[in-house]
Amino acid sequence: MASRPRAVIAGVYNTTQARQLDGATSRSLSVEAILGALADAALGLDDVDGISAGELSTELIYDLRLGPAWHGSGFGLGMIVEAVAAIEYGLADVVVVVAAQAGAYRNHSSTAPWTKPENEFIIPWGMFTAAEFALVARRHMAVYGTTRHQLSIVASTIRNNGSLNPGAVYFGRGPFQPADVEASPMIADPFHLLDCAMTSEGGCALVIANADRIDASIAPVHLLGAGADFFGPSYKVPPAWDLVGRRGDDVNGMVGRRAADRAFRHAGLERDDVDVLELYDPFSFEVIRQLEAFGFCGDGEGGPFVEDGRIALTGSHPVTTDGGLLSYSHAGVNPQMLQRAIRAVEQIRRRAGELQVRDARVALCSNGGSGALFTTVLLLGDEPS
C-alpha cells in the first residue's frame, strides 16, 4: 500500500488591501491572489487541480480553465483543513484556497451587509455584529469584572502592530494609547470605534500542495492540528454566554475551548509551545475571551492577562501581528479569516519584517467568536507533528 500523501502550505499571498479598491471585483482580486500565491509556491496554474473559493469555486474553475478539479465548500480556516484532507485522501494535489471582496459595501449609511442577516427575531431590534459581540463582552464585564481599560489595551496593541505593517490599510495610523480608544466615538457600548473591525476590500490566497509536488527551495508550513466549535447560526439567536448544548458543560462564552483542546492533542503540543497567536479580532474583547477559551489563562482572567504587555509583539503571547481586522484588513465574510493563517505562515517563514516574532516556529490562529456562536482554531508549524 502506498504511503498517504502529506499536504503542506506552500505559498501565500495578499493583494493590496484598502478601504476601497476602485476598478477591482471579487473575481479579479481572486485571480490576482491565486497567481500571487502560486508564484510564492513556485507553482503555476497548470499545476492546480483543486480550489476552495466559496461561492466562486465553480466559476473560477471555469474562468481559469482548471477543470476537471476538486472544489471545497468550507469557509475560513475550515477551507485549509478541508484542502489538506482532500490532498491527503488523494482527491487533489495542488489546491488554491482563496477569498476576496470588492464593491459589496459602498453605501456606508448602514453597517456592512455581512453584519446583519435578515432574521425575524433579530432585525426589528437593530442588531448587527457590534451589538452581538457587545452583548457577550458586557456579560463578561459584569460577571468577571473585566474593565473598559483592558479592552483598550487589546485594541491599542493590535492597532499598533498594524500601524507598523506596510501592507495594513491603517499603516502609519498610530501609535495608539488605550485612552485614544476610549476617546473614539461610541458604536455599541462597551465598544468604541477603535474597538471594532474596519471594513475594507482586498483578496488573499494560500496554496496547499502534496509535499511531493513542491520545489526544494520552498519552505513548507505544516498543519499540526485543528478544531472547530459551533453553537448555532451566527446572528439569528441570542448570543448568550451561558448557552449550552446537551452534551456537557461547555458554554458559548467559551466556544473554541473544545476546538483548541482537540488541536493541541492532535498536534502533541502544549500551550507553552505556541510562539505567536494570530487571533481573530472582530472586536477588542474577543481576544480576551479567546485567551481564556483556548486555555492560555483561566476563566475570567483574560482581562488581567492582557494588562502587563504579554500580548505585545515583545511579550510572551504576541497576538495578531499584522494588525488584524482592526488595522490590517476586513474585506467581508471570508478574506480576513484566511488572513489569520496567512499571517501565521509569514511569521513561521520569518517574513514579518519589523513585526517578526523572534524564533516563531509554532503559531495558533483562530476565526469567529462567541458573538457569532462559533470559533475555529489551527495550529501551524515549521516542522510536521
Binding site: 448602514s110 446583519k116 425575524e120 427575531f121 437593530g126 458586557r138 456579560r139 457600548d189 441570542p238 448568550a240
Partner: protein
Amino acid sequence: MTSGAPNTLPPQSGAVPHADATTLTTPFWQGCAVGELRFQRCTDCNHPNFPPTEHCRMCASFNQVWERSTGRGRLYSWTVVNRPVTPAFVPPYAPAIVTLDEGYQMISNIIGVGVDALRIDLELRVEFHRVGDDALWLPYFTGARP
C-alpha cells in the same frame, strides 16, 4: 402603554426593518398584536422553546403548544447602540438579551429606563409598541418597577 420618563430610552417610532412571519412564527406576532407575549412549550418535557421551531430543542418532540408568557424577566446582557445598523433606527437604542421567568431568552430592546440604570438582572416586563405605519407590534422590555 407607558412611554417612560424624560431621558429614558424610547421605543423606535418610525418604520424598522422586519422579516415576514412564517406559518411557524405567525402565532408569536399575532400575540404581539393583542398584547400577549407567546412562546412554545413542549407537552412531553415541558421545555419552553423560543424562537419557534417545529420540534422541541430539548427532547426533539413535535408536540408543542403555544403558551402566554407572564412577560416578566431579567436583563441578561445589553448594549447601547450609537451607530445604528441602518438609518431606519434612531439611536441611542439598547439591544438586550432578556431571560423570561419561564426560562427562555429573547432579543429585544430596553426602553423606559435610563442608560445608567441598565445592569445585569434588572427586573423587566414586556411592553408592546406599534412601530411604523404598518401593523407591526414589537415586544420591548422596560423596568418592572416604575
